[in-house]
Symmetry: D2
Subunit: 133 residues, 4 copies
């Protein structure tokens, strides 16, 4: 995968980082960001959209934090543990909230089921990375 | 200002929110996001760019979290205190780190001075809003 | 305004740029991005949300291109006329579409009226800047 | 892949869309966005960063338009051919510029080589989709 090749191609040896966990978290963030954007849009086209407005809003928040976190984790220059911790904690918290929201509609809407799973994966990947700090 | 008019035009009465603090925080987030993007670019064009790489990186992270937080605070449907708290805490932490970084070069680079001030304003606005939760 | 101070603080003299038009366009992009995000959210909370889904979707697209364009215009290092033209043309086209969408509901929803105006301002600012290239 | 599952889970039948090309373009946009963010950061950490500032700037612009376009293509509600065309044209143009920039340093920097390839794939995917409109 390209994001793993880019981690390998970084010119400095930073040491001490768990590269497999970092790569997994970057992938999970972009996957979850795209999935939340698509889930918000799929919810918009449901006949019962009026019952899904809280889900749409959380999807939009989750898309924003996942892309922001995926970007921040893709940067390694001038590493600051406090900054990376702040992103991962926020991303895990919003993924938790969005996963819970989507899980409520998972039986009824396939897109919410897929989205809930992507949120869980991203939350776990953020927490796994937090545990290594 | 347009963001204040948009807060007034929201169709539901959500009650209990400190609208002045919310409006100030939204404005501070977008101002800080734009300023950090411009500061990263100004640093890139300095002859001493090699000494400013950590500042550029933190600027880029700060731009990402400020826009994501400004977006999240612009949404009021399906309000979830845990989500909004996660954004504000992350935004305050990254603005603190970026403000500290830029403050180190404030004597030498006017753009870092302006950026440090925008980061302080945004950090304070996020904390002021957190205090009302 | 901070974005004007940042333009002045840029360390290189690039010459030939119409700074007033550039500053106006940067401000219009971030204003329109925030307004579209808030309008999508206000539409979500309307009782007639089912009739506003196309408006919400265009708001979301417009928010994305406005922030991306505001970021690109905030950068001056390694200026490439083809790149800046691509951003402005896309931003003007999407602002046109979003302004038209929101204008259809402007009589009924104040947030759509405010948003349509922000889209018109941003479209015009992008076209005014395109005319100087 | 999750983005393909989300396309399948969209609740309305929109007809006439080339789903394979759309899915490929969404994947290419997010891959290219992440790669450009990582390439800008890798360039920042090179000893010769002062010679790579134009590359870094184009990377940052390309990351912004790729994510904005990936988001827009992930939305299908309220489809407007003019809007989707504007995103794809801008994305193709900026990917062309960034691919050219990175290709100049591809011999010397592996991250620029990988990034140039991601930019070419994304440019082609956008043009392939434009050809179906």
């Amino acid at each position: 995968m390209t994001h793993e090749k880019m981690l390998d191609a970084y010119p400095k040896d930073l040491g001490g980082l768990d590269m497999a966990k970092l790569a997994a978290c970057i992938a999970a963030c972009f996957e979850c960001g795209q999935t939340c954007t698509a889930c918000a849009d799929a919810c918009l086209s449901e006949d019962m959209v009026a019952d899904l407005t809280a889900c749409i809003r959380t999807d939009l928040d989750c898309a924003d934090i996942c892309i922001a976190t995926g970007n921040a984790l893709s940067r390694r220059t001038g590493y600051d543990a406090k900054v990376t911790r702040a992103f991962r904690e926020a991303c895990a918290a919003v993924c938790k909230a969005c996963g819970d929201q989507c899980a409520e509609h998972a039986e009824m809407h396939e897109h919410c089921k897929i989205c809930a799973e992507a949120c869980r994966r991203c939350e776990e990947a953020c927490r796994a990375l937090l545990a290594t700090l």
